[in-house]
C-alpha cells in the first residue's frame, strides 16, 4: 500500500532502528519526553579527542515518525565533527525524513533534535 507519511524508509527505520541502545561511557546524554504522546528518547553520545561523534546510541519509545527521525539522526551525526552536529536544525531533520510532516506531527519529528540539543547543551 502506497503511503506518503509511512514510506518504506520510515517504516524500515521504525521497525529496525539504527544505533539502538545505550553507551556505557557517554560524554553527553539527554532524555526528552513528548508529554502529549508519552514518547521518550534517551540519547547517549561519545566524543573523541578531536570533538568528533565517535559513537551514538538511543533508547526510545514512540511513533513511527519520532523513532525513524532519531534513528536517521544518529546515522547522520556518527563520525561527524561536533561543530557540524551543533549546526543541525529542523530543516535537516525534515530532509532526513524526506516526507511531508504536517503540523500535527512536527513535535514527533523534532523530538530527536530536541534531545540532541539538550545533550549538546550539557557540554560545558
Amino acid at each position: 500500500m502506497e503511503d506518503e507519511l509511512y514510506r518504506e524508509n520510515i517504516l524500515d527505520h521504525y521497525k529496525h532502528p539504527r544505533n539502538a541502545g545505550r553507551l556505557e561511557h557517554a560524554t553527553l546524554s539527554a532524555r526528552e519526553l513528548n508529554p502529549t504522546c508519552g514518547d521518550s528518547i534517551d540519547l547517549t553520545l561519545k566524543l573523541d579527542a578531536c570533538d568528533r561523534v565517535e559513537d551514538v546510541k538511543f533508547e526510545g519509545r514512540g511513533c513511527a515518525v519520532s523513532m525513524a527521525s532519531v534513528s536517521l539522526l544518529t546515522e547522520r551525526i556518527k563520525g561527524r565533527p561536533l561543530a557540524e552536529v551543533m549546526a543541525l536544525g529542523e530543516r535537516d531533520i525534515l530532509a532526513l525524513l524526506g516526507i511531508e510532516v504536517g503540523p500535527m506531527r512536527m513535535k514527533c519529528a523534532m523530538l530527536s533534535l530536541r534531545t540532541l540539543k539538550t545533550a549538546l547543551d550539557s557540554k560545558d
Binding site: M1, D3, L5, Y6, L11, K15, T36, C37, G38, D39, R61, G62, C63, A64, V65, M67, M104, R105, C108
Partner: protein, 403 residues
C-alpha cells in the same frame, strides 16, 4: 439504534459540518445537540446581562435562566440547588476540593485514590500531599481491570481523611463500586469524592444514592458546552468549607480589612460565571432527560458489546478493559507494532476520530506496561455503522504499517 429515536442524528449538526464519518472520542468531549446551542444563543440574544447584579429586567431574566439551570442539574443528580456549584469543569471542581479541604490534613493523615484515576483526580491530591505532608495511597487495579476491593478495605482506615475515586474509568471503561467505597469512607469518618466525568450523561447518576460527600463532572462530556462543570457537595459540608477563590458575587459584606461570605453555592462562584455555559448545561440536562437516561444506557451497553466484539476480532488487537459486566463505552485497545499516534493518524484518514496516548492516565499505563493505547468512546449518537467503519479503518492501518 433500537433504544433511541431513529432521527437522533439530526440533532447533532456538527457531525455533518465537520465531515467526520465516525466520531468516537466522546470520552474526551461529546458533540453538542442543537437545543443546547439554541439555549446559549437565546441568552446572548435575549438577555445578555450579568447575573445577580443588575436591578433591571434583562439581568433578572439572565439570573433566572442561570438559576433555573442549577435547579435542573440538582433534580438530575437527586440533589438540592444549593448543593450545585458551577465550575469550569471536573478539573476545577476537584481542584476546588483539594484547595479547600487539604489544608486541614497533616503528616500521618492519608488520602486514598485509585491507580486508574485521570490526572485531574490524582495530581491535585498529590500536590497537596507534598504541600501539607499527608500520604497519598492508591487502590490497585486487578488484572481483570477492576479495583482490588480487598486492598481498598485494607487501605481505607483510621488514618484516611478523604477517598476520591472515578465513577467510571476514562481508559478501561470500568465502573467502580462507588456506593461501597463511599460506605467504607463513611465508616472511618473520611470524606468521599466521586469523579463522575465519565458516567454523568451516560446513565442515571444519583449523588445522594451513591452516598458520597462530593461529586464532580464536566459539561462538555455530557452534550453541554465547554468551560462549564459542576461540583456537587453536601450542603452542610459546603457551608463549613472556606471559599476557593475570592472576588465579586461570593461575598456578603466587605470592608477594607475583612470580608464575610455569601451563602452556598454562590460562596464558591467568585466573579462573573460562565452564564451561557450554565444555561447550555441546563439545556443538555433537558435533552438527556428527553431522550431518557435509561434508553441511553441501554443503547450504549449494546453498542459497547458490539464494539468490543468487533475490535477483539481483528487479529493482534487486544481490548484493554473489562470485556463483559458493568462498564461504560470507553473502549481502549492495544495493537502491538503500532504506536497510538500512528493509529490515530491512519484512522483519521478514513474519517474515524479516536484518541491515542495515555488519556491523562499515565500511572495506569505504566502499571499496564503500555506506552499508550488507542481508545474508541461512544455516546448516544453513535451506532453500529461507526464501529464497522472503525474496524475497516483498523484493518487498513495494519496494512499500511505492514502488520
Amino acid at each position: 439504534m433500537k433504544n433511541l429515536p431513529a432521527d437522533i442524528l439530526k440533532d447533532f449538526p456538527s457531525l455533518h459540518a465537520m465531515g467526520t464519518r465516525a466520531y468516537l472520542d466522546s470520552a474526551a468531549s461529546s458533540l453538542t445537540p442543537a437545543p443546547v446551542l439554541e439555549a446559549m444563543d437565546a441568552y446572548y440574544l435575549e438577555c445578555r446581562a450579568n447575573v445577580h447584579r443588575g436591578m433591571y429586567r434583562t439581568s433578572g431574566e439572565a439570573s433566572e435562566r442561570y438559576e433555573q439551570s442549577r435547579a435542573k442539574i440538582a433534580r438530575f443528580l437527586n440533589a438540592a440547588p444549593e448543593e450545585i456549584v458551577f465550575t469550569r469543569g471536573a478539573t476545577e471542581s476537584l481542584n476546588l476540593l483539594a484547595y479547600a479541604l487539604c489544608k486541614d490534613f497533616k503528616q500521618g493523615d492519608e488520602v486514598v485514590v485509585t491507580e486508574m484515576e485521570h490526572h485531574a483526580n490524582l495530581v491535585p491530591w498529590q500536590q497537596m500531599a507534598a504541600r501539607y505532608g499527608f500520604a497519598l495511597k492508591a487502590i490497585p487495579v486487578k488484572p481483570d481491570f477492576t479495583l482490588d476491593m480487598d486492598a481498598a478495605r485494607a487501605l481505607i482506615g483510621p488514618k484516611t481523611k478523604l477517598v476520591s475515586v472515578a465513577h467510571a474509568s476514562n481508559v478501561l471503561g470500568t465502573i467502580n463500586p462507588v456506593k461501597e467505597i463511599a460506605a467504607l469512607a463513611r465508616a472511618v469518618g473520611a470524606l468521599c469524592v466521586v469523579d463522575a466525568a465519565q458516567s454523568v450523561g451516560h446513565r442515571r447518576v444519583d449523588a445522594r444514592g451513591i452516598g458520597c460527600d462530593f461529586l464532580a463532572f464536566s459539561g462538555h462530556k455530557m452534550l453541554g458546552p465547554t468551560g462549564i462543570g459542576v461540583l456537587y457537595g453536601r450542603k452542610a459540608l459546603l457551608e463549613a468549607m472556606d471559599p476557593f477563590q475570592f472576588g465579586g458575587d461570593m461575598i456578603r459584606e466587605v470592608s477594607l480589612e475583612k470580608s464575610t461570605w455569601n451563602d452556598v453555592p454562590w460562596k464558591f462562584e467568585a466573579g462573573t460565571p460562565n452564564i451561557a455555559g450554565a444555561i447550555g448545561l441546563g439545556a443538555a440536562v433537558d435533552y438527556l432527560e428527553g431522550v431518557g437516561l435509561e434508553a441511553i444506557e441501554a443503547h450504549e451497553r449494546a453498542l459497547t458489546a458490539y464494539a468490543i466484539g468487533k475490535i477483539s476480532s481483528i487479529p493482534g488487537v487486544r481490548v484493554i478493559g473489562p470485556v463483559e459486566g458493568e462498564r461504560v463505552g470507553a473502549v481502549a485497545f492495544d495493537l502491538p507494532g503500532m504506536h497510538p499516534h500512528d493509529l490515530v493518524t491512519l484512522l483519521d484518514r478514513e474519517g474515524v476520530s479516536v484518541r491515542g496516548g495515555h488519556h491523562c492516565a499515565m500511572p495506569l499505563h505504566e502499571k499496564l506496561g503500555l506506552p499508550g493505547t488507542g481508545r474508541a468512546s461512544l455516546h448516544l449518537y453513535n451506532d453500529e455503522k461507526d464501529i464497522d467503519l472503525l474496524a475497516m479503518a483498523l484493518a487498513k492501518a495494519k496494512a499500511v504499517m505492514q502488520l
